[in-house]
Amino acid sequence: MHRSLDSNNLRDALKYSAQMLSELRTSRLSPHKYYELYMRAFDELRKLEMFFKEEVQRGFSVIDLYELVQHAGNILPRLYLLCTVGSVYIKSKEAPAKDVLKDLVEMCRGIQHPVRGLFLRSYLSQVSRDKLPDIGSEYEGDADSVVESVEFVLQNFTEMNKLWVRMQHQGPVREKEKREKERSELRDLVGKNLHVLSQIEGVDLDMYKETVLPRILEQVVNCKDEIAQYYLMDCTIQVFPDEYHLQTLETLLGAFPQLQPTVDIKTVLSRLMERLSNYAASSTEVLPEFLQVEAFAKLSNAIGKVVEAQVDMPVVGAISLYVSLLTFTLRVHPDRLDYVDQVLGACAKKLIGKAKLEDSKATKQIVALLSAPLEKYNDIVTALKLSNYPRVMDHLDAGTNKVMAVVIIQSIMKNMTCISTADKVEALFELIKGLIKDMDETPVDELDEEDFKEEQNSVARLIHMLHNDDPEEMLKIICTVRKHFLLGGPRRLPFTVPPLVFSALKLVRRLQGQDGDVTGEEVSVTPKKIFQILHQTIEALSIIPSPELALRLYLQCAEAANDCDLEPVAYEFFTQAFILYEEEVADSKAQVTAIHLIIGTLQRMNIFGVENRDTLTHKSTGYSAKLLKKPDQCRAVYACAHLFWVDDQDGIKDGERVLLCLKRALRIANAAQQMANVTRGSSGSVALFVEILNKYLYFFEKGNLQITSAAIQGLVELIMNELQSDNMTSDPSADTFLASTLRYIQFQKQKGGAMGEKYEQIKVAKV
C-alpha cells in the first residue's frame, strides 16, 4: 500500500488499502485486541487521507473519488475508505459538510456487527470531529447546518449505543460476565459522542433542551440496558455544563424512573446532586437559579418517583438517595430546614412498614442521613426542630440507634451546644431514648458492660448542657429530664440521677444568689420545691437499691438546704441518709467512708437547733463506735470530736464533749491494742495513739481548755512506754508519724509567742 501511495498509483492504493482494511473484518479478536488493530489501521488511514488530499490537489475529482471507493465489494473496507474520502470531501468544500456527514452516517448502517460497527462509527466520529459545521467554524454553512451537525452526532451516538448494547448478546451465555467486562471497556467510544456534542458551540441551552437532551434520554431509556443506562446518564451529567442540568432538571430527572431497576441510580443521582451542590457553592450568583427552577422540589420529586417506580430497589438504595438529596439540600439550601425535614420525612415514609433495619449497609446510610444535619449545623438544636428526625431514627436497630444517640450527644459536647428549653429537651430525649430506657426487644444480658457504662456516662454528661438562665424554665428542664430518667430502670439510675441532682443543686444555688433581687415578686420556683423533687428523685435511687450513692446525694442536699436556711429539709435529708446507713449500707469499708462523709457534712451544718443537732451528733457518734474494726471505730470517734468544736466565730465549742470523744477514742485504741495482744501475742501498732495525740494537739492549739498540756504529756509518755514494751510489733510508718509529731511539738515550743508558751509545759524527749 505504501509503495502505491509513494508512486501515486490510485488504483493500487485503493486495492491495497482495502486489503489492509479487510483485516478489520475479523471476528476472532477480543475487543481489546481489536482496538489495537484498529489503532494501527487508523494510522494507515491517516496516510491514505493525505494521499487522497494530494490526489485531489492534482486534479482528481473528489466526487469521483467518493464514488470510486464505493466500488469495493466488501462493506467494511468500503466504509472505512468512504469515511476517509468523506473527510477530504468536506475539506474540499465541494459539497456542504452536512450533506457528506449525513451520507456517511447513513451508510455506516451497513455494519451491524457490534464491535466492528462500534469502531467504524468511532472512526467516523473521529474524522468528523473537526469538520462539524458549527458557529464560527469554517464549515458553518447555512442556518440549519448546526442543527444538522447535532443531528449527525446524535445519530451516530444512537447507532453506536445500539451496537454497544447488542454486544452482550454475542457469543455463548456462559461467557457473559467476561463479555460484559469487555463491553464496559468500550463504553468511552460511545460516550465520546456526548463529549463531542458538549463541544459544539452551537449547542446552546435552547438546543440542548429542545433537541440534544431529549434525544439522548430517548436512546438511554429505550436501550433498556443496565450498563449503558448507568454509564450514559453519568456521562451526560459529567460532560454538559451544570447550568444546563439545572435548567433541564425536570427532563433529566424524568428519565430516571424509566431506567432498568438494576441501574445504580443512586450513584448517578448523587453525582448529579454533588455537581449541582458544587455549582451552587461556586458562586452566590447562581443560587437564584436554583430557586427559580425549584431544584429541590424537582430532585425530591424525582427521587420519590424513582423509589416508587423501582419496587425492587433494596431499601439501602432508597436511603442513600435520600442521603444524597440531604447533602444537596444542606449545601444549597442550608437555611431551609423545612426541606431537610421533608427529606427525612420522605425517607421515613419509605421505611414505613419495614420495622427495624437488619441490613448493615442500610443502617450505615441511615446513620449518614442522620449525621449530616448534625455535622452541617453543628447544633443539635437545629436538628431538634426536624420533626421527622426521630421517625427515621426509629428504624434503626437498637444497637445502631444507641450509636446514633451517642453521636448526637457527642455533637452537643463537641459544640458545647446549650439546650435551653424543656421542649427541646423533650425532643432531644425522644432522639436518644434508646439510651434512656430499655427498648422492648433488647435482651439485657447481651449488653456489653463497658459499652453500657460509656453510654450512660455520655447521657450523664449531657445533663450539664441542658441549661436556661431562667429558673422557671430550668426547673421545667429538670422535671423533663427526671421524667425520662425515672423510666431508665435500676441499671441506669446510678448513672443518671447524680448529674440530675447536681443540676438541680446548681439551680438551688442560683436561687440563693437571687434572693435579694426577687423579693416581693411571686416566685414559683423555690429551693423548697426543688428539694422536694430532689428528695423523690434520690429516693428512686435508694430503692433500686443504690444506697451508698443515694446517701451521698442526700448529704449534698442536706448541705445545700443548710445553705438555704431550711432546717427541716436539711434534717429530713439527714434522716434519710441515716436510714440508708442503718438499713442498707452493709459493707464495712463502705460504712467507714459513709460515716466520714456523714461526720464531715454534719460538721459543716450550722442551722440545726440544739435538739436536732444533738440527735444527729449522737447518732453519728453511735454509728462511729459501732464500726466493725476497732481502728475504724477509733478514727471515726475522734473525727466526731469536731462535731462539737467548729472553729469559727459562731461555731459550737463544747470542749467537754470533744474531750469525751477523744477519751473514747483512746479507750478504743487501748482495746484494739489488747485485742492484738490476745490474737497475735504482740501489741498492735501505736499508730492510733499517735493519731489521737495529734487530735489532742489540734484542740489544744484551738484553745479547748479541757485539753491540757498534762494530758498531752501523759499521752506522749504512754506512747513511749508502749514502744519500749518487749512485744511491740514494729511499724515504721507509725514511728515516722511519731517522730514528725514530736518534731512538730519541738517546733511549736521553739516558735515562741503565745503558742510557744502554751507548749512550754510539754516535755518531750528529743528523738
Binding site: P499, L597, K702, Y744
Partner: protein
C-alpha cells in the same frame, strides 16, 4: 527537673462534662513553649469517666490516683505517697480529713504521711499553704465542678516544677474565660525529713 501535673475533683460526669478546652489546649503530649507535657500526673478525687482517664494517661503515662468520695472503684487507694527527686509527695482526696479543707488537720495528715508536699482536694478551691512541715496544695477542681463547700468554683489545676531542692508551683485558673497563672516558690532545706 520534673514537671508534675496535679489536678483533681473532676466530677465528670456527675457535675461537669469535660475539662475546659483552654486547659486541654495547654496540656498536650510533647513539649513546646506554650503547652506542657507533665511526666507525672497526680490526681485526687472523683474520677469516673474513662475518656478523661485515657486522655490523661495519654498526656502522661505515669499517673497516680487516689480515691474520691464518689469513686466506688476500690482500685484507687485512700492515700498514696511517692518520691520525686528529693521531694516526697503525698496524695489524698481529703473527704476523710475532718473538718474538710482544714489546714491544721491536713498538716496532721502530712505529718502522718511524712511528705514534703501534700496534694489534696475535695473543697474545689485552689489553696497552697506553706508551713513548717512543707506545703499543702489543693489544685481545686479542674472542671470547676459544683461544690457544697465552695461557691463560684473556678476551674483550676497545678503544675509543679520540681528541680533539686526547689519546687515552683504554677497555678492555672480559668476566670471568665481567661487562664490566669500564679507562681509559688518553695524551697526545702536539706535537713528536712531526713532521718
Amino acid at each position: 527537673m520534673v514537671l508534675v501535673l496535679a489536678l483533681g475533683d473532676l466530677h465528670i460526669p456527675h457535675r461537669a462534662t469535660e475539662l475546659p478546652a483552654k486547659f486541654k489546649s495547654m496540656l498536650v503530649p510533647g513539649k513546646s513553649s506554650t503547652s506542657y507535657a507533665p511526666e507525672i500526673s497526680v490526681s485526687s478525687g472523683p474520677f469516673k469517666f474513662k475518656e478523661v482517664h485515657d486522655y490523661l494517661k495519654s498526656l502522661c503515662p505515669d499517673m497516680h490516683i487516689t480515691r474520691g468520695e464518689y469513686d466506688e472503684d476500690l482500685r484507687y487507694p485512700e492515700t498514696k505517697t511517692l518520691t520525686i527527686g528529693q521531694f516526697k509527695l503525698g496524695l489524698c482526696h481529703g473527704h476523710q480529713v475532718i473538718p474538710w479543707g482544714d489546714l491544721d488537720s491536713l498538716a496532721m495528715l502530712q505529718r502522718e504521711l511524712d511528705v514534703d508536699i501534700l496534694v489534696t482536694g475535695h473543697t474545689h478551691q485552689f489553696k497552697a499553704y506553706k508551713h513548717e512541715g512543707g506545703v499543702v496544695i489543693n489544685p481545686g477542681s479542674a472542671t470547676g465542678a459544683y461544690s457544697s463547700v465552695t461557691y463560684d468554683v473556678n476551674p483550676s489545676f497545678v503544675l509543679m516544677d520540681i528541680d533539686g531542692l526547689r519546687v515552683v508551683v504554677y497555678v492555672y485558673e480559668l476566670i471568665d474565660g481567661e487562664v490566669k497563672v500564679d507562681k509559688i516558690d518553695f524551697k526545702k532545706t536539706a535537713t528536712q525529713s531526713t532521718h
